[in-house]
Amino acid sequence: MFRNIFGKRIIGSIRDRGSLVWTLIFPLVLATLFYIVFSGIDAAGMLNRFPLGVVNDAAFQENVAFRTAIESVSDEDGLFELILHDSVEEANVALENGEIRGYIIVGEIPTLIVTMDGIEQTVAKTFLDRYLQMQNSIEHVMMTNPAALANLVPMEFTEEISLSHNPPSGVLNFFYALLAMTAMYGAFQGGTAIIYLQANLSALGARRTVSPAKRWKVIFYDLLAALAIHFTCMMVLLAFMNFVLGIDFGQQIGFVILTCFVGSMLGISFGALLSVTPRLKEGAKISIMLAVTMVCVFLAGLMVGGINYIIAERVPILAWINPAARLVDAFYALYFFDTYERFALNIVIVLGMSIVMFIMTAILTRRQRYESI
């Protein structure tokens, strides 16, 4: 019985092109489009090494401390591409021509010359301010307590603050939201399974209801087949994102797969519950499935980056009850945090929603006799 019902439903689902378009083809196309649109955005967000001039006069040559400091942050991996100018005039010309972002005249007190504001100018100024602060501290210690000089920490101009074992990314949220959308599209699979089960929804449902196959078995095997097919679609999408598009889902791939599985359960249960409603026509049910999914994934940040954070801050309840937002947050938590509390909370919420919807579906589908069909 299991092989017959489950196996044939798997075959049927694979051949159901309409359903596969929504649950596999569309997400694959969207992932590719995201990749094309967003490639380079992360790189744009990173600070690149930029040209900074220094007037190479006697003061610069004599100020060994400054020379050492600026050279230490001007290697190949450093902040600056250091360009030495023989005179202030030459540095000015280079600045006006855009060859450098600014230049430093060492003099008695090193001074930064820039002609405009910007991130690179701010970085150069921050470096200089930090250097001057350290210089003042050292001079003060030398004057007041020279013996303590040895205890001064080495001068560092860059500091790495690590929140995570993974590098930050501005575009990952879009791919997480896409996975959440695909998870919710499991509603198509779950919905079809229920329509094919209910005598008041389809001739096929009536035909199966009059068979001697026990109802709970048919429901369970059908939904299991829907889950298997949809989860496979999720895995194909995940593999495509990971191996073809190179999207990094972090090190916790097992938990990422678990999140996809729970997401599939959510989608299937959502579609099943919606389809069990007899008063709505099939077209109306599909429209509702799409509308709810799109609203959820919009609020989870699929279309507008960062909207999920705004919703979480301003209408937190909406963020908590939005299953797509919970799935996105679960992926996010896995990628950025070393601990699992936040991930586990999200998974429990989504799992809870799925179980409640499955129970409601089971209650509503247990009857086999109808007022009308």
Partner: protein, 309 residues
């Protein structure tokens, strides 16, 4: 095999089945005949425990029919009015699926599936998806899915709707064969010719009620009408028409659109007396038709309306 007593089914204010009674004996091909909306499908769906009903008693194979009466369900085959197959499965996969709901063992099932394919003449289409089949072939697939497991009792609800004549004959011959092989058949239709052709007993239904039950001969014997004589006459005077109308053994005679129609009383034959009267008055006539009474005449006489309507 089937006993239905005082079944009442309402759809809101509409009384769909009004104290409906039915008894079907083992080995019969029992026809439920009636116009659309007469309650045939509602009766079948109540018997199959798909519909709730307000009142009444339904027994199948000697036990009350309920949704969880799996023992009875196992012995039943159902061919729904609307084709009930998976559009994504091929012909052979569909038959195997539905047969598998009754016979889980694949080895036991395989020969039955092959037999059903041969029986419905779908051998050339076994790998076809339903969307590639004609209406007639689709109906045959629907039947194959309903009977592959060799049930003792088969419900066929309007299985020939929108079917070409070739497929219709194939289906009707197949139903006769199923009956010859021992299956009891319940056949619903609004096509009286089909019911007359294959059913051993017939129930005529109207407005949720059984208005007459019996063999086709018994049903026809219930009414006054017998033979119906139709004669093509280019021109017929009222005087001759009145004389024909007054012939003994005639119920009435009408002349309309160059056709004379004379209805005879049951068991009497009035063809010769009608033709003699025409000859006596030198009335020229063309083709002559003589028809025995049909179930439509039965329906017409009992309800006052045409079954075909």
């Amino acid at each position: 095999m089937i006993q239905v007593k005082n079944l009442v089914k309402r759809y809101g204010d509409l009384l769909a089945l009004d104290n409906f009674n039915l008894e079907v004996r083992e080995g019969e091909t029992f026809g439920l005949l009636g116009p659309n909306g007469s309650g045939k499908t509602t009766a079948i769906n109540c018997i199959l425990s798909l519909l709730k009903y307000s009142k009444g008693e339904i027994n199948l194979f000697g036990s009350p029919m309920k949704p969880d009466n799996y023992a009875s369900k196992k012995r039943i085959g159902v061919v729904m009015q609307n084709v009930a197959v998976f559009n994504e499965l091929t012909v052979i996969e569909n038959i195997d699926y539905f047969c598998g709901l009754y016979i889980p063992n694949k080895k036991e099932r395989n020969p039955l599936v092959e037999e059903a394919i041969a029986f419905t003449g779908l051998d050339d289409y076994r790998k076809f998806l339903p969307s590639k089949l004609s209406g007639g072939l689709l109906r045959r697939l629907n039947i194959a899915c309903g009977v592959a497991h060799k049930p003792d009792l088969i419900f066929l609800d309007e299985p020939t709707v929108a079917v070409d004549p070739q497929s219709r004959n194939h289906i009707l011959e197949g139903i006769k064969e199923l009956n010859r092989n021992g299956a009891t058949i319940i056949y619903t239709s609004h096509y009286m010719e089909e019911v007359e052709q294959i059913c051993t007993r017939i129930m005529i239904m109207d407005n949720g009620k059984a208005i007459a039950t019996g063999t086709k001969e018994e049903l026809k014997a219930m009414i006054r009408s017998g033979e119906k004589v139709t004669v093509e006459i280019p021109d017929l005077s009222n005087e001759v028409l009145r004389e024909i109308d007054s012939l003994s053994g005639l119920i009435d005679a009408k002349y309309d659109d160059q056709l004379l129609t004379a209805r005879c009383v049951s068991e009497s034959y009035c063809l010769s007396s009608v033709l003699d009267t025409l000859r006596k008055h030198n009335v020229g006539f063309g083709r002559v038709f003589s028809e025995p009474p049909t179930l439509n005449d039965v329906f017409l006489e009992i309800t006052g309306k045409e079954l075909k309507d």
